[in-house]
């Protein structure tokens, strides 16, 4: 609710969306049946329920470029039972492999299912070509997309089939005249198509009329790919063609660059027409890595790694990626191993190496070192050598840093480096400042100036805006776009919608529209094709071809390796991917064009949101974290997650199947059934406005000169949290930022990275190397033990959960003077006690953890014999009641689920407490405690309301219901507050079952 409050339209649509949702989910489950058309009946039943839903869905669809499986649900509603040929049609279609150009489509669903939805789309395209009137009903955007789409396919269409095309069109038209209603027409079209013809052919005809433009793309291996593109083609069309040519599936890391007039290169925006971007210039592009994967070992396919290697070799040889001598030599030796195989003294004479370029200034000494190291790599396969290459390259400090020349406010030459983690400021080669994404509130540009607005530094009250001068307007815009893209790609779960036009913004509405890293990783896990064969082009050849005439590659369909592989893309996995994968929920929000994510529609997303955004959002984050974890970790925490799911996720008032659950439930069968007591300590509600400040921005002194006098923006003024402990920078800082309600400013281009922080940010430190992960694991394990010791879980039925914030404060106050070690920054999962532990130990200098999207605390001591400790809000009073409890054999579980900003309580300045008030009300099973604190710090007064609702009861109470109710009520009462934490504490009589571990 925090982020979406503002959008009225969504709210208005709620009802229908829910309807649509229901309508769609069911068929989803029954997908196999629906293929048989047996399911068309249930679908039809639902259709009356949501006529409007269908309409509302069509507009979101326009943003999704490709066919959306979910659409099929909508459309299939209108498909009468007589359309039974569908299946046979589908089979034919699948064999045709028309869809090869869109290999990802197949990922989600089985091809058959997928067809039934993609076809109508194509049908509409055909219609669009022939009948403008109908087309106008569609959004323009969509029309464009479709045009392009079939122009792509047209390129592939085999000439032999063209004859029938015209007939086809005629048929379609004829039918359409008969039918007044668009949907019906579509259906008809489909029917016609089942007679074996392809819509694409229709399209091709249209394409022929359109003027084409020759287009050249230099590939990473130095080869050149050329093709003719329709004049109005978008960047995506070309990019897809290139990726198909390369047989590349994990393509989201890549992009096309074109040279601008001023020698600067810009990324081709896939969503826009090429001609509008390149203007009068020839259509010449280079295919490059756009987003360097922070951990290349997480790429799914070797072929992707190979292209990344090629890019890095270029970067290194050109000096863009600086390396030391030794690293040059080491990377060079891996290149040799990958391209030449084992060192062979006979074959590899002393000068075999000089044809390679490893470094900008390659010396004989370096070459000797390369050879020496090459000899040591004996036995490494090319793929292994590439992996080693990447493992070393990724650690280079400039890996993935996109540098832009600029001047600071004093006119000093600096460079701005945009990377996965944020913005780096360099002076010469030295890093002089760094703004992690979480620190940046807004990015904007105006004319040739580029601005970032950052969170207040430690002792400051206000945000500061830092301005940089770029060489010209285009450079400023380019930098801004790169920032927007990088932020979205690396830190968000799904792309953000472009700002709505109604806000009357003057500036660029540009947003990154591709898949985010999270999405692409998720998609990659669904890749299920045999490792494609590809030839590693020798670097030698590369350099030669660069020198002389490039080796041309024509746009031939069959060029790229075993073409069949592409269409194999994941049909088997598909079912799972679609229906079990909770990830989908995450993706839902984006106008994604990723086929595998399309199954969820706008309608569904909204309905989910309506019911409990926070819950939903957090879960998606949760999974995001899981993505980055080893299987081990995941297993480790499954228990807690399953609990969570059970008590938290299912608690939505309107029970219905949810993907998350389905995905999780399989491995998590060990749920306890006979829980005797369950305690839900729900919901700490906090005022959103308080978020901003847990981030410690330590820039003073470092970058003082860059700072523009702090603008005072009352709405964003840093708030003081009464609960905070002065000297401890917070562990976490990303907040459920309130920025969604911020009004648009009329900067020429602006972007608020924190817009959707709550729902979609990714932990900054997720890319830790394995070593770290290992350490982490150990650490975590030990933490669990500590947890058992440190958190005395009461065995009584009553409120048990000790609130983290509170606890921290209590302790930190006690040990203020003590300086000690702060450890363990990167834990994904923290036990409450772990937090406490940290606090005891002192301070955290590094603050970038800020963005833990949420924290899950879990402790599961099998048998706990403890005393009860209740600590209530420390800022007002500290009461620790301890009493001996007779040993009761119980199992206890405590799961805390919270937003990270709660930690901020420990990070801020204590300020002066004005008033504190605690109101408690009780009902049968719930206790609501409201703390209202007013504090003053530095003249700014702040009111902080924390509301804690504790639901206590035995198993017979429907906790889920109660929880949901509580959340709902809290939200209604305080629409601007957010749920920051949910703690589920559960005790189970040991006698009843001992199944857990």
């Amino acid at each position: 609710m925090t982020t979406e409050v503002g959008s009225e339209s969504e709210v208005n649509k709620q009802a229908e969306q829910i309807g649509a949702d229901a309508a769609q989910e069911k068929p989803d489950e029954e997908a196999p049946e629906s293929q048989q058309n047996a399911s068309s009946e249930p679908e039809e039943e639902k259709s009356p329920a949501s006529p409007t839903a269908a309409v509302s869905k069509s507009s979101p669809r326009s943003q999704k470029k490709e066919k959306d499986p979910s659409e099929s649900r909508g459309i299939s509603r209108f498909i009468p039972p007589w359309l039974k040929k569908q299946k046979s049609y589908n089979l034919v279609e699948a064999k045709d492999g028309v869809e090869r150009k869109e290999p990802t489509e197949a990922v989600v669903e089985e091809p058959v299912v997928e067809k039934d939805e993609s076809l109508p789309e194509e049908g509409s395209v055909a219609r669009g070509d022939t009948e403008e009137i109908l087309e106008r009903k569609r959004q323009e955007v969509r029309v464009d997309d479709k045009d392009e789409k079939h122009s792509v396919s047209s390129a592939e269409t085999q000439p032999a089939k063209e004859d029938s095309k015209e007939i086809e069109v005629a048929k379609v038209e004829g039918i359409r005249e008969d039918k007044q209603e668009g949907e019906a027409a579509k259906r008809e079209t489909k029917e016609v198509q089942t007679t074996e013809l392809k819509v694409e052919k229709v399209a091709q005809k249209a394409a022929k009329k359109i003027k084409t433009v020759p287009c050249k793309v230099t590939l990473l291996d130095g080869m050149e790919y050329s093709c003719d593109l329709e004049k109005r083609a978008t960047g995506q069309v070309l990019f897809d063609k290139v990726c198909e040519q390369l047989n590349l599936l994990e393509k989201d890391y890549f992009g096309l660059l074109f040279q601008e007039n001023n020698d600067q290169k810009s990324w081709l925006d896939p969503s826009k027409e090429i001609k509008k971007q390149v203007r009068n210039l020839p259509w010449i592009f280079t295919f490059n890595v756009k987003f360097y994967p922070p951990d290349p070992s997480q790429l799914t396919e070797d072929i992707t790694r190979y292209f990344l290697c090629l890019q890095l070799r270029q970067d290194i040889a050109s000096g863009r990626l600086p390396c030391s001598f030794v690293t040059h030599a080491l990377l060079g030796s891996y290149t040799l191993q990958a391209e030449l195989g084992d060192y062979d003294p006979e074959e590899h004479s002393s000068d075999y190496i000089s044809e390679f370029q490893f470094a900008p200034n390659q010396t004989k000494e370096m070459e000797e070192k390369v050879i020496e190291l090459h000899k040591t790599h004996r036995g490494l396969s090319p793929a292994q050598a590439d992996s080693q290459f990447l493992e070393n390259a990724k650690r280079l400090s400039m890996y993935g840093v996109d540098l832009h020349h600029a001047k600071d406010s004093e006119g000093v030459d600096i460079k701005l480096g945009v990377c996965a983690n944020g913005l780096l400021i360099y002076k010469d080669r030295l890093r002089i400042n760094r703004f992690a994404w979480p620190k940046i509130l807004k990015i904007s540009y105006k004319r040739s100036n580029f601005y970032i607005k950052v969170r207040p530094a430690e002792l400051e009250q206000f945000e500061s805006t830092i301005g940089f001068k770029l060489p010209n307007h285009r450079a400023a815009k380019r930098l801004w776009k790169v920032c927007v893209e990088h932020h979205t790609f690396y830190r968000l779960v799904s792309p953000e919608q472009p700002p709505k036009a109604k806000f009357l913004t003057l500036g660029s509405k540009f947003r990154y529209s591709g898949r985010t890293q999270a999405q692409t990783r998720q998609a990659s896990t669904l890749i299920d094709r045999p490792a494609p064969y590809f030839e590693r082009t020798s670097s030698k050849r590369v350099s030669r071809s660069l020198d002389g005439a490039p080796i041309g590659v024509m746009d031939q369909k069959d060029f790229s390796g075993p073409a069949g592989d592409v269409s194999v893309y994941g049909p088997g996995v598909a079912g799972q991917g679609v229906f079990q994968d909770g990830d989908g929920k995450r993706e839902v929000r984006s106008p994604t064009k990723t086929p595998q994510l399309q199954f969820t529609t706008e309608g569904k997303k909204n309905s989910l949101r309506v019911e409990g955004e926070n819950i939903y959002v957090r879960h998606s984050n949760l999974m995001l974290e899981d993505l980055d974890k080893t299987q081990d970790d995941i297993l480790k925490h499954q228990a807690s997650i399953s609990e969570l799911k059970r008590h938290f996720m299912e608690s939505t008032p309107e029970p219905r199947p949810n993907e998350w659950e389905k995905r999780r439930i399989t491995p998590l069968s060990q749920q306890t059934q006979g829980s005797s007591h369950e305690t839900l300590n729900v919901v700490e509600v906090k005022k959103q406005a308080e978020v901003g400040k847990e981030e410690r921005v330590i820039t003073e002194g470092v970058n003082g000169r860059d700072r523009v006098p702090p603008g005072s923006d009352p709405g964003e003024t840093c708030k003081v949290e009464p609960l905070t402990h002065k000297d401890s920078p917070s562990l976490s800082s990303e907040n459920s930022s309130s920025s969604s309600s911020e009004s648009e400013e009329e900067d020429v281009g602006e972007y608020r990275p924190h817009h959707r922080v709550t729902e979609g940010t990714i932990r900054e430190e997720q890319e830790e190397n394995e070593e770290d992960v290992e350490e982490e694991k150990e650490e975590r394990a030990s933490k669990v033990v500590q947890c058992v010791e440190a958190v005395p879980e009461a065995s009584s039925v009553k409120q048990i959960t000790v609130e983290t914030v509170v606890q921290e404060n209590v302790i930190s106050q006690k040990v203020t003077g003590e300086k000690s070690l702060k450890e363990g920054y990167e834990q994904d999962m923290r036990e409450e006690t772990e937090e406490e532990h940290h606090k005891v130990n002192g301070e955290v200098p590094h603050v970038d953890i800020d963005v833990l999207p949420e924290i899950i605390c879990c402790s599961e001591p099998p048998v706990v014999k403890t005393e009860m400790v209740t600590i209530s809000d420390a800022s007002q009073r500290t009461e620790i009641s301890t009493k001996e409890v007779p040993i009761v054999q119980t199992e206890t579980k405590t799961i805390t689920y919270e937003s990270p900003q709660i930690d901020g309580g420990a990070g801020g300045d204590a300020g002066t407490l004005l008033t504190a008030q605690t109101i408690t009300s009780e009902s049968v099973s719930t206790t609501t405690t409201t703390h209202i604190t007013k504090t003053v710090k530095g003249g700014v007064s702040e009111t902080r309301i924390e509301k804690r609702i504790v639901i206590t009861g035995d198993a017979d109470i429907d906790h889920d219901q109660a929880l949901a109710q509580a959340i709902k009520e809290a939200k209604e009462q305080h629409p601007d507050m957010s749920v920051t934490r949910v703690v589920v504490h559960k005790e189970t009589g040991v006698a009843e079952e001992e199944e857990e571990e």
Partner: protein, 286 residues
């Protein structure tokens, strides 16, 4: 390059330089302003340090002979920045100290390191303004080291991020903080030290824990991993007799063997552990 963080402290050799009598005498030139110190005590401390490096840590110890005209010669940590197979010979801020680099350069060369020189006349760099964390370098922009000097560090160790940290007061960066482990920064509690640590936290891509010690001087400790990979690391520190309060805190560091040494007398000449010895590995990549 190895695993990040793991390279920290890997060493096979230690280089020290004897304490000349001139350090105990009435001072002129270079050492003006340094209070007179007990030469015998200073030499004893130095001897103990050498002994610990050799016997306790098992390092090959090379001791350069003292030179009377270089009273601050024992502080050879200022004269070179060594990482991996590369030694950057510095250009100390104090012109009188610049001749100190010669002996060190020769020794490092003999050990097979690649020598990088600072040719820029505008650059000043004291080696103890450079902190290597295992993953990146921080260069203190102090009274002793300027931007140009830091830039040369960045140029020399290109694989790594090199960030600048403003250092206020008379200290070197290493006089305020050190590494207590691959992921742990140890810092003093003074304002300058804390400020430096905060600046580092803001600049880094990597998270470090930080351990705050009562004494700044105690933060100048050396995390060393002599011997084979996997061998337990040592922390050479000045707890014990020197700075007992800090020892207590240092004991919180996990998985490290604490080796106390004291150099309170040498400290009067501005020395800390990081300046009294240079540790290096002759096989950085093996």
């Amino acid at each position: 390059m190895g695993t990040p963080g793991e390279g920290l402290g890997r060493c096979s050799h230690a280089l020290i330089r004897g304490v000349p009598e001139s350090l105990g005498k009435e001072r002129e030139g270079v050492a003006v302003g340094i209070p007179p110190l007990d030469l015998a005590k200073a030499q004893r401390e130095h001897g103990v340090l050498g002994g610990k490096l050799r016997q306790r840590l098992g390092l090959q110890l090379l001791e350069l002979p003292p030179e009377e005209q270089l009273p601050l010669g024992p502080l050879l940590g200022d004269t070179a920045v060594v990482h991996g197979d590369t030694a950057l010979i510095t250009r100390p801020w104090s012109p009188a100290r610049r001749p100190e680099v010669d002996g060190v350069r020769r020794a490092l060369q003999d050990l097979g390191l690649r020598i990088v020189e600072i040719k820029d006349e505008n650059a000043t760099l004291d080696g103890t303004d450079v902190l290597f964390t295992g993953r990146e370098f921080f260069v203190g922009l102090s009274k002793w080291t300027n931007h140009r000097g830091a830039e040369i560090v960045a140029d020399t160790f290109r694989d790594f991020a090199v960030s600048t940290v403003p250092v206020s007061g008379p200290s070197h960066l290493r006089g305020l903080c050190g590494m207590g482990g691959p992921r742990t920064v140890v810092a003093g509690s003074s304002e300058a030290a804390q400020k430096a640590v905060r600046a580092m936290a803001a600049l880094t891509d990597h998270p470090y824990a930080s351990l705050t010690l009562p004494d700044d001087a105690a933060a100048d400790c050396l995390f060393l991993r002599p011997g084979l990979p996997g061998a337990s690391p040592f922390l050479l520190h000045r707890g014990g007799g020197d700075l007992p309060n800090s020892q207590e805190v240092l004991q919180k560091l996990p998985d490290v063997t604490l080796v106390p040494v004291s150099c309170s007398e040498l400290e009067k000449a501005g020395a800390g552990l990081s300046s009294l010895c240079l540790v290096l590995s002759t096989r950085p990549h093996s």
